[in-house]
Subunit: 465 residues, 4 copies
């Protein structure tokens, strides 16, 4: 039984903390301390209580000692792992990120990765992550850092740029959905029961939320060759892996999508995009799929409003309270998230291959070194080694490069606190296609204004007030 | 006196041939044969006559033997230099290239480099250049090839891709205009007489018609530092180096522009674009400067219609006829073109530094090797060696890369005769931002249809008829 | 049960064939045809008989249909896998490779990889492999090619250079020995039972027979940190993993070694060489460890004479005859070789990580792309994907690069049939340090002369007769 | 007339200062201050006096104000240019560098660049240059730094590594001699008067003192094609460009050589080494040309003893005294050195192409970025831009890479003050081929001991006393 300490930054998380605590509870061979740290300390306290309820559950295999800390450095001290999952600022700021651009005709389906919302979110997040990186460098330089915060690419970049020896990687489950989608394809085209997603071997590469699958096989069968036939049947009405079929009524759930964008992109580029359609469209010229809500509807994906997120969060807090107080029983079962699986591999309990985000050091030879990319990696005893990915089709490579370099420009501008360079990346976002410079600048100013309390300590906002 | 043979492919050129023959006439130290080859043989014959009139002129220093050939191979045989300057197809096809997209709201100021027109022109040109490359490889593999044909990047790429040992470079005078513009800046800001453009030292790099100046100096003075003050005065009304000042009335001349785009880009990116504004705007999201004719007018550049080109050509033919017949006297004087200067350097008469287009072999370390780029090169005895360029600002580098990779995708699709890949590059053109896929495909089909006689021998046009 | 065809080039192998057939026999889930092809057809027939005896054994899980072919193309037809394991020419030529240089004071411990013997062997092997590559390209382009022939690097290079789409990799077990050595270290330093080598996680990279381990761990413990203490105890008398300890008397077995070279190199460079000492020393200036037989003895490794190999082979043939005829019972048990394990992974039966030789496409970012390197790779359903290796220490990287580039020069010279370039690589071999140019040339001439019948069809040997 | 300040570090130079002051005196268009700084202040004072005598000479075109400074920072303050030309430690230490290895059978012809002497000299020089770099960064970050000190590569590396924005380049005249040699070839083979070396166009690349000429032309004629015929005649007896012919008696002058090594290398590699033979041989396995003094004699180059250098220096000091006191008249005439020519180009008085040493940023695409290489560069108004060099033949590229990486390893070890890593580079020097590790270590220890006073402040010499 390995005794470890895991520091959880953002340990007051409303949803993901529960999932993670459950996964830890059912993972054999590890135990120790979960150090919860959150600027919302009561939320961390609540999760501690939920954790203790999980400990008390009969299905629990590994019990953990949940401790809430006031200071980041104390939480990090002696940590073997650090999980980072924060919301930079509040949903009020995210509201500006997502909805202010709409006045200018710019729509976003998510708004936390790229596009105008992604840039503003990055402006708030990078200075916070610079602080995390410095604290890790000082307090627990040998710990493994697992990042879950968006914008994923830029958070991971910050950690490595500030502290090059950091042992960090960014986890995202979007690619799992693509495996599920391929599992449906195998089911339907091969006439077999739907396989477990882990049996679908893929080579995926790109940048977070804009990854592409260049190879997909199931026990010796090439699944990409089956796609044209599958798409013939399903393109028109869409197909959702989460409902095993046609995808007509999404109005109630802004997180769902019919893979119609994915299928359309496959037909054009011969590679299957791995992220969900809601994410993909934000990396492309907005006239294609995200021109306006009606176009989005036609392409069968939802626009996630921040009001929806607020409502959802309120429900989750309510549920957390009930779990913490025992009004509602905890559900101790393994999720589809991979964090605990990767932790075990890092502790020397066997190799695992999974796709995560780390700086390019050869895994995408056509991309500049140092750019954070998402590819398969081999997780092994104290090591994460990227696997060299297949080359992307030229046209796809160009789209990925263009977005990766926008992110690099944005990061560089933020790092240098250079508002002009940040704006250069803002206006070069594919989602901003169609907006004249003067209007783009007006929008930028409005958005900066809306999130000013979180920026003023870091940037010279003269001219933005 | 060096005795050489220069083969002139497209030797029936209506305008550029005259300029070149004049330059040759006033260049000392070289003589020999000019082998004219053109599918329009009478035009070549007419140029031969003009050449002979130039020979007879008293200002002529070097006389040349003008010979018209029926066959390309005969013209190339024994050539030391090959100049290529052709119009792929006719102005009828160019009319489709430039004006068909307008029905879909896509405007082009030139239409021969990138954008929808550039793609179609490339489809016609590459197969022709493949033939040139094969003929050169067989008949005159050691000759220096000087390309003037657009799309410049893709023509140069074809030569090197088909015959990797080719000694080719692409010449374009756009950067000279930027030097003239900087000469005006020096004049106005330093209070000195306008310097000769050759005295303005620059470092320019990028791809043809989308090059950027990262350093510009005049006798120890940094000219880029003077730009903000200069622009303060001239941004509003524009400034044309060709009229030494404000640039209000361009309606008569669709080739002129007020450098307002260039000044706007400088303010955003801190680098001075080197090509003319008409060209620059075609590499950028069309909503910025090329949304429609009114926007173009606001930004002080003209849209060159093909009707204008036809009219202009008719006048040039008329003038050529008069020069050939002696009704009009020839003007033997040196132009600002550099081809003859570069030829002399290649013959071992001293080093010259000039910007030309060749495949990247290190001169732009941030761009993939093999991509055709435009940078300074040292011309010396039988050698053209690229000079390593300053890095471009990140945001500019991204724009250049994105366009360069669109061109690579386009070339690759054409080389493989793969209509889907060509369309992938077509739809990814920045000028196509804002056009939905189905409309883009309809436009592509219309454009292919209009230029079909020049494509059908090379491409499988099933579905495009 | 997957039905496959495996073509075995060099299917008359005296030793390795038996091992492989046994491994196939105990591997569940695969069956089909083993197509034996060998220029020594009786040897192939003999192996077919042994194979059939194995089929008849009660321990056999999977039976295979053994077929002997007269023509390479017939053996390859329809193959899913191709195993290549040949001896280029005979032991007579190998005698010249290994022992002629001794007259000039150049000793070799193996003589089949680099050094003068490696160059001559490459000269004989590459033309043969060019033929294999062309046949594979035509007959079974989608088959997986498993190479076992030395010189490994140059054989693999030839396959990819002649047929870039080839799906080939080179397998070598040298790294396994290093894992065994580390297993001994874990045993002794941690006071635990000797772990299975598969439990030792390593990151190894370099070129075949000159690979280096930059990371080695056993269930969370860093083994490289234990080496200094281990070496303190064992450096003087050496330590052999095959006898679990001190290594004093090797005179009878020229394949054994005491890891004293490996320990010496670790002390100097901080990285553990992964190949056996006999191989390592051939990549280094011969004055270090291979100055003469006495020096080799001092460093506790043997020089494998070709006479020994001949004797060994005669015994093996005798044994094969007895196995084929049933005079001796077959031993059906799994070996430590990994070929069948990798085949299963390629057939989609689960991921495996193992170190093999393929061209660099990013896995060693400090080495030129295209150079054949040995690193960890992920074997998965129809794919071999290299894992990006840790950077080597600068001084080691230089040694690896230098040898890799000698091999590239050698290959390039052979490919171009350019005797001068081959000699340039010959004289630049580290083992040739100390030999003046004229003597080196005399040696080269003698060695070429000795193996002339195998060279004359490919090279212009004027001046070498 | 441009008014500038040039700081001269090592301004007490016995020989080169005079040459430089003369060149400055006859260079029109520049004037100002020469700030002399030297730890041997009287030597600087003496040069000041010589400078003033030059000022007084009638042939002097530009007069300079010579000022001697006590403090480096004062000398640097306001400098536009900084010339660095120092002797690290004294000839006593250089005696150990050059002659201690002889006891171990290791001979050196120069001993200041690579080989055991080069490593020790680097150990003394790098800490000094780190100080220079820090002072320049603080006091005159925009000045152009011209380095003349050996080891050239490692001095230049230090400046850029400590202060990445430094505008530094390293000047060496070795390539000029190769041009002179080629001038002799042109003279003899073409039957023309010996051309001026500036008329010989070359492409040279590599690392300092180990550069290679891949192209050499004289007014349209390929000189490399003439070499075989020239060498046929001169290989046996050698040929020295400095005496226009046969080179039999060098015993009096250890700086001369007969180019026999150069001719031998050309025959093997097809590329002409550009540095003098004395330098070249130090980059190659010592058994080739530098086995012992007799071998050197056979190859027609001299071993420069430090006694000779001491004697030569004493004469130069005597001569300087006489020049300073007026006992001997100054000789005001232009030398063949290019420093003043390059300075003029940097001041905006026209482009110059010359070969200098700067970090690789694309000019040698086959070498790692950041390694200091010597290639042609374009000197222009405030800029030095490298020209992309022809690729070297594979075998030569390997030799260059190997030496460049030894230097990188050496530099890295010195930077990190890591004696083990320094020794790893020491033992990997080609000149050390043939020396067993234990003897190499004994030699290293002796050499470190001999130069200890200059090392002890920087390195942990425990175990070296």
């Amino acid at each position: 039984m390995k005794n470890i300490k895991l520091a959880y930054i953002g340990g007051g998380s409303k949803m993901w903390a529960r999932v993670f605590m459950n996964d830890l509870a059912v993972t054999p061979g590890m135990c120790g301390e979960i150090a919860l740290y959150d600027i919302d300390k009561p939320a961390a306290e609540r999760n501690k209580k939920i954790g203790e309820r999980i400990n008390a559950d009969s299905r629990t295999v590994s019990k953990w000692n949940y401790v809430v800390y006031d200071k980041l450095e104390d939480a990090l001290k002696g940590a073997d792992f650090v999980a980072c999952s924060i919301l930079p600022a509040t949903f009020e700021e995210m509201h500006a990120d997502v909805h202010f651009p709409e006045k200018y005709g710019i729509y976003q389906s998510v708004g936390d990765t790229v596009g105008p919302g992604g840039v503003l979110r990055a402006m708030r997040t990078v200075p916070i992550y610079e602080g995390f990186a410095r604290a890790i460098a000082e307090v627990c330089p040998k710990a493994w850092i697992i990042n879950f915060t968006n914008p994923m690419t830029i958070c991971t970049k910050t950690l490595y740029d500030v502290f090059p020896q950091v042992k960090a990687f960014g986890c995202c489950h979007e690619v799992f959905h693509a495996q599920e989608f391929l599992s449906c394809v195998a089911h339907e085209e091969l006439g077999i029961p739907r396989p477990d997603r882990h049996e679908i071997s893929i080579d995926a590469s790109g940048i977070n939320h804009f990854t592409w699958i260049t190879q997909a096989r199931y026990k010796g069968t090439d699944l990409l060759e089956l796609l044209p036939s599958f798409m013939e049947k399903h393109f028109e009405k869409g197909y959702s892996e989460s409902v095993n079929g046609g995808a007509h009524d999404f109005h109630g759930d802004p997180f769902r999508y019919g893979n119609k964008v994915k299928m359309d992109l496959f037909r054009r580029y011969g590679a299957l995009a791995a992220a969900g359609d809601r994410h993909l469209v934000e990396f492309l010229d907005n006239s294609r799929y995200l021109k306006d809500p009606k176009t989005a509807e036609k392409w069968l994906f939802g626009l996630t409003t921040v009001d929806y997120r607020k409502k959802q969060q309120a429900e989750r807090i309510k549920e957390s309270d009930m779990l913490a107080s025992g009004q509602k029983p905890v559900e101790v079962e393994r999720s589809d998230e991979e964090a605990t699986v990767l932790m075990q591999a890092l502790l020397g309990k066997g190799k695992v291959v999974s796709n995560v985000n780390i700086p390019n050091r050869g895994q995408m030879p056509d991309m500049p070194l140092g750019v954070v990319v998402e590819t398969n990696c081999v997780f092994d005893d104290d090591s994460v080694k990227p696997v060299v990915a297949n080359p992307l089709p030229l046209a796809v490579r160009n789209l990925v490069y263009q977005n990766a370099m926008n992110i690099e420009t944005c990061y560089h501008g933020i790092k240098e606190r250079n508002m002009d360079e940040i704006f250069a990346s803002f206006i070069n976002q594919p989602l901003m296609a169609g907006l004249p410079v003067d209007k783009a600048h007006a929008l930028f100013k409005e958005m900066v204004g809306a999130t000013k309390p979180y920026l003023k300590d870091y940037y010279n906002l003269k001219g933005y007030e």
